[in-house]
Symmetry: C2
Subunit: 338 residues, 2 copies
């Protein structure tokens, strides 16, 4: 059996996460038992939720145990199988973690899913046609529920989740307005993803300026908003919300020391009769088949061209993850493993 | 025709409202045209929404015009009718405004509604079996949607809206916990309205103390909350919210100078997958018949005994209104006019 290199959580961060919180180990891959499958990972997905799991504190998910392989989505190829539904050569998606190989008990439901990489490149099953894409799909279709002609805004619009929100909103006949950091990302959001406009928040360092930019980009007000960031962006969006606007809350940054950032004008929820709702996509497994089918068709037909930032080799995972937390990625952050 | 005393809005407040913003006038009641009804008001309702209408600023409702009779709900008796559906002696509810008499064009839909005061005292059609009661009904049944056994909290629990929320929540098999100002109000909330507990927020001047009191009163967390106040109360409730908690936003105070009061921990909406929704009951006329039927039955059968604070004579209206804004009323604030 092959040697497997993997990262375990070595220690919990005090404040910012650092490379020292992870430890690289090399171990033997165990021999397969009945019902097990050996998968060689081609790509590892890096996602913001992982930072939350590194903490010990109470959250909606259990913390990542110390000394165990870091949690993470993976796509790869079956190399050996002792399970009747999988054969060597199958392309599969699973939660293999930060490692090069995994031995999966394929009898457990949801552990391993065969995917078709003939129309959709394998890596996109970790992004646009995977968890981030379904996250955008759920927030847009089950919380914002936009009607054609309405205006939908989305923060972190060039990211794996935000790009899906915008492409899906356009497919529903909405005006889609992105918010992203930097001219290059904004250009991509408009020119390649097809948003109607994109605001570079770095050019608007204060609430008044950002709110004014939103007013120009959304002359009929904001009917729906998908929030990946929080803080000043959400404050500015709320100032431009229309009556009955819906906000899907998917991500909320904290201040430098981990303190919460207050919402400045909560009374707008009342005066504009808004609905603000938080969600976690893993609690809505019922929508995944429908969402993945639509996202797969959009990507397969070339109408949705997701962007990726790809680091090389398992040893690059910690720095790529820290870069993601600092917004250095452009689109979906991956690590290529094979 | 009788002489009519009425209050018009004389000026818009700068900061706090004052008695000088209103002007008492005495005018002749005009003779009736076809389709009109002359109503002698027995009670005028005073409600917090009136403060918003005194401002010029953009809001969800048009501002109260200067020099015109202040808007307000009324109940009274038909004295003369030139409309086939109304006869002298009928008890009616309408939006007669801050005056002793009104001439109503009864052909306009929704202007005047006959009510039965044989089981429900007339004044309650302005409170528990009127707009405040329906407000509580809507927020509880259409936003919070509580299941039996779940915990529902409500601020301003002894008020016209809050008392209805609690009585309805108990009728649905929930644990109802009130928040009110002062021992007398809390005693009423528990002993007469039947809430399971009531927290006196005056005994808990800081967030930590109020949050701790909520934890004791809601050992299984808070599943639904009806917010009439905002500010620190909402912050404390959010800290004790369960997963998937719902918040119906009905009232939000501002700071002393009219500045908004920030929401301290908006990230809890995400981590607890909460839904926070603002509403205005007048936009949901479809629920009124069902809500009024249930509230009328609860009051008529004696299971809901609403409290009222009654000022005497139209000339008392401005001071009674200012007292309401300062929380000096106990239950529904009315002015008795006849």
């Amino acid at each position: 059996m092959p040697q497997n290199r993997r990262f375990v959580l070595a220690s919990r961060p005090e404040g910012e996460a650092s490379a020292q919180n992870f430890r690289l180990e090399t171990v033997e891959t165990p021999a397969l038992s009945d019902g097990q499958v050996l998968v060689r990972h081609h790509y590892l997905s890096l996602d913001p939720y992982m930072r939350g799991r590194m903490n010990e504190g109470k959250s909606y998910a259990a913390p990542q145990p110390l000394g165990e392989v870091m949690i993470g989505g993976t796509v790869g190829e079956v190399v050996e199988s002792r399970h009747p539904r999988f054969a060597a050569g199958d392309k599969v998606q699973g939660m293999g973690g930060w490692q090069e190989w995994s031995v999966v008990d394929a009898n457990q439901p949801g552990m391993l899913r065969k995917v078709d990489d003939s129309r959709v490149p394998l890596s996109h099953y970790l992004g646009a046609v995977g968890m981030p894409g379904v996250t955008g799909w759920y927030g847009l279709n089950r919380i914002i529920e936009p009607k054609p002609g309405k205006t939908v805004t989305v923060s972190a619009a060039s990211g794996a989740v935000g790009s899906a929100v915008g492409v899906l909103a356009k497919a529903r006949g909405c005006r889609a307005v992105g918010i992203a950091g930097g001219a290059e990302k904004c250009r991509y959001v408009v020119e390649e993803l097809g948003f109607d406009a994109c605001i570079d928040y770095r050019e608007h360092p204060d609430l008044g300026s950002l709110s004014k930019a939103l007013k120009q980009a959304c002359p009929d007000g904001i009917d729906g908003h998908f929030e990946n960031v929080g803080g000043m962006i959400l404050d500015a969006v709320m100032l431009r919300s229309s009556a009955f606007a819906r906000v899907a809350l998917c991500g909320m940054i904290a201040g430098y020391d981990g303190q919460p950032i207050p919402l400045r004008h909560p009374q707008l929820i009342l005066t504009n009769r808004m609905r603000v709702e938080g969600f976690i996509v893993s609690e809505h497994l019922d929508v995944w088949p429908e969402a993945l089918a639509e996202l797969g068709e959009l990507v397969g037909s070339g109408r949705f061209r997701p962007r990726e930032t790809v680091a090389s080799g398992i040893e690059a995972a910690p720095e790529a993850f820290l870069g993601l937390l600092r917004g250095r990625n452009f689109g979906k952050q991956l690590v290529k493993l094979a």
